[in-house]
Symmetry: C2
Subunit: 282 residues, 2 copies
């Protein structure tokens, strides 16, 4: 696989982790970074995540590949501007939503140079210091609407993400956003709400801190996630998230009803049904 | 620490894991097991979790220490019967609820021999084959109502759990059940309900299976937990769980309202507030 000049726009958790993986797999001839946050840019340079940090225009002009790893509202704003400056380059975004983002460039004359991607990997932390050396490994990468991208751009993107350990799924952006609401977005809402439940009602934070088990930690850890990333995701995927959230509230009400009525047979049924998740989680 | 003859009643995840730890730390002169499920008894013998499996009466008569690691409804039923057969022995239960269990022996003439304990460790799996060699390590053990237990029984229990890597907290059973509703029981309800949400609405189970990220897995993995363990917990801690569940539903409705009204400032506030969980999780 020929090495390329790769520019990463946004040196946070995702961009920083991708930089680590590209270094390790020696996939970049030059790795440049762009970040409007001077603190993040400095940390990324100190960590040697990228060879150098440059302004957006310079990075795009020099690159063979441009990766957008910024919050989805910023992707929606930047993507058409980046495509305006592109001819031969491949442009890839890593956003957690896809519908609104692909629509921003539907009629762009360089639409073919763009590949819509969503790596199903992340943590609850943000910024370049949170970058993880084993990121993306054995996780799924979703590619969307590949029929609208040039074949060479899709082929290189598939190859690059395979090299860093991902397996590739393809689907339409509309289907992606529906599924993402189930396998990712709703988990964040329940975690945020669970954190607020505990913080609202439980005043003995020290006791909780000392008691907290791995079960508690695993259900609320996502609540540490940054609003600058998540508000735009919920905003772009509002309708799907609302549908799933409504269903989730009605499922919780079934548990409440079984407790209120002391209907233990019904509670058992609800739990047995939930055990069916083993089919999905393995 | 003098080795003791220890009987473990219930060779499931908890009892089996405790057996592994007692072996490793060489804390038992003899380790006997009791299990009414013949398959579990056989697996426990094959795995050499215990030296032998015997009937309850024989195990209690021979033991210095009796550990009850069965579902909380079975503990509530067994504990008075075991105390009836005890003189010098120490009896410890590992139940996830404490209020109803301690009440069953409040006026028992041998109440002093009993120590109420709850190790804040578990997994979503059950049965002896799920036993974990590193169980309990660096986790909290809650001891309740120790003023009602004989000093020698409490001292030995503290020492034993410290030897297997736990740190000890003490609180009243009533306070325990309130806190446990927050740090453990509600997490299981949200996980069960989240699993049911996905199973109800998302018909492409294969797609979800392939897409599932670590975030999804961590919020729903508890939904694999066994109803035979959890129905009795929710039943014994019904009032606390209902309180927390009501609060959780109203917190989720705030997220729904922010999405319905497209009030992104409010959504950001809700998430920022949830980020406060960092104070608790570290």
């Amino acid at each position: 696989m020929e090495k390329k000049n790769i520019a990463i726009i946004g040196l946070g958790l995702m961009g920083g982790s991708l930089a680590l993986r590209l270094h390790e797999k020696k996939l970049a001839s030059v790795l440049t970074g762009v970040d409007t946050n001077p603190a993040h840019a400095r940390i990324a340079e100190e960590m040697e995540l990228v060879d150098r940090v440059v302004p957006l225009e310079e990075a795009v002009a020099d690159a063979d590949v441009v990766v957008l790893s910024v919050p989805v509202n910023v992707i929606a704003e930047l993507l058409p501007r980046v495509l305006d400056r592109v001819n031969r380059q491949i442009v890839i975004d890593l956003g957690s939503t896809k519908g609104e983002i692909v629509r921003t460039v539907d009629n762009h004359p360089r639409r073919g140079r763009y590949v819509a991607a969503h790596p199903m990997w992340g943590t609850e932390y943000s910024g370049p210091a949170a970058a993880v050396r084993t990121a993306f490994e054995n996780k799924a990468l979703i590619l969307c609407n590949t029929a609208d991208s040039d074949a060479d751009a899709v082929d290189w993107t598939r190859l690059m993400f395979r090299k860093i350990g991902m397996h590739i799924l393809e689907m339409e952006a509309v289907a992606h956003d529906l599924h993402a609401a189930y396998v990712s977005h709703i988990s964040h809402i329940t975690s945020f709400a669970l954190a607020n439940t505990v913080l609202e009602k439980e005043k003995e934070e020290n006791t909780i801190f000392e008691m907290a088990s791995s079960g508690f930690e695993s259900t609320v850890r996502l609540a540490k996630s940054h609003p600058a990333m998540w508000v735009p995701i919920f905003r772009q995927n509002r309708e799907n998230v609302l549908d799933v959230l409504n269903e989730h509230i009605s499922q919780l009400k079934k548990f409440r009803s079984s407790l209120e009525k002391e209907n233990w047979g019904y509670l058992e049924e609800l739990i047995q049904n939930a055990n069916g998740i083993r089919r999905i989680l393995g």
